[in-house]
Symmetry: C2
Subunit: 159 residues, 2 copies
C-alpha cells in the first residue's frame, strides 16, 4: 500500500517551472462506498485503477487499457473528472533518510489555481518523521475534500 502525505502549495516553485510536465486526465467510472474505479489517461497510456480505500480489506489493482477502450470508458466519467499537469522532483533532505520524491500536481479546468504536492514514503516511520520544506503549505493528507475523487465530484473546496 502507498503511504503518502499531501500538502497545499501556493504556486509551482520557481525551481520546478521547467521540470518535465506530464499532463494527466483522470476520471471516476464508479464511486461506491469505499471502492473507487478510476481511469487515468496520460501520453504513456491508460490505466484503470480499482481501489478500496478503507475498511478491513485494502485492495489496489491497476489494469493497463488499450486506448480505444479507455476513450470509450472515458465517456462514463463525465461530471467526475480532473485534469492536471504533474511534475516530479527529488526532494533534497537529510542525508541519512530515504530518498524521497515529490509529485507536484497543477490542476486546470474548474480547479485552475490549485497546486498540490504529494510525497510517497517507503514506510510509516519515514512518513511520520518527514519535515515538510518551507515551500509546502497546509497539510491535506486527511482532508477528504482534497481527495481527487472529491475534487472531481465536488470541485474546489470552499476555504
Amino acid at each position: 500500500m502507498e503511504i503518502e502525505r499531501k500538502f497545499l502549495l501556493s504556486e509551482i516553485p520557481p525551481t520546478m517551472r521547467f521540470a518535465r510536465r506530464v499532463p494527466i486526465r483522470q476520471g471516476y467510472l464508479a464511486l461506491d462506498g469505499d471502492t473507487e474505479v478510476r481511469l487515468r489517461i496520460t501520453a504513456k497510456g491508460a490505466v484503470l485503477t480499482i481501489k478500496s480505500g478503507r475498511g478491513g480489506v485494502r485492495v489496489e489493482e491497476e489494469i493497463a487499457l488499450q486506448s480505444r477502450q479507455a476513450e470509450a470508458l472515458w465517456e462514463l466519467t463525465e461530471g467526475r473528472r480532473v485534469q492536471k499537469t504533474r511534475r516530479t522532483v527529488r526532494l533534497a533532505g537529510p542525508a541519512t533518510g530515504p530518498e524521497l520524491h515529490v509529485e507536484v500536481d497543477e490542476y486546470s479546468g474548474g480547479l485552475d489555481g490549485l497546486v498540490v504536492a504529494e510525497v510517497e514514503f517507503p514506510d510509516e516511520a519515514s512518513a511520520r518523521g518527514f519535515e515538510p520544506p518551507a515551500w509546502f503549505g497546509r497539510e491535506l493528507t486527511d482532508d477528504w475534500r482534497y481527495a481527487n475523487r472529491s475534487l472531481a465530484s465536488d470541485g474546489m473546496p470552499a476555504e
Copy 2:
C-alpha cells in the same frame, strides 16, 4: 449492444441435463447509478466488465484479467456475488429465422433452485418476433429484481 430476453424456468430441461456445464462466479466491485463494474471468473479466465446500462451513453467494455489480479479484486465483491452453472444450447426454431442460442443458468448458493434462460438476438426485430418455446416460463427481461446485480445484492426475489 446485446439484445436479450430472459425467462424463468422451472427446472433444467431433461434434454440439457448432460450438456456441458460452465461454472461461473460473478461479483460486483462497484454499483454506481447506471454503471456497474462486474468481475466474472470461469475456468477459461477472468473478465472485468464495465457497463453503463441506461441513459444517453451506453457503454460496455470487457477487460481480461490475470488470475492473481482477479482473485485480489474478488475480495471486494463480498456480499454481492452470484454463483451459477451455465449450459448453452442451440434453439430449434422456425427454419427461416436466425439461429438462436439459449444460455441456461442454474444458480447455486443462496439462489439455489433458480433457473433462468437467456436468448440473445442479432437485432430488435428478431427479439420482438421471438416465440418462447413451451418449456420457457414467465418472462423476466424487464423484471429488475432478476437482474444479476439485484440477485447478487438482494438475493432471491419474493414472489
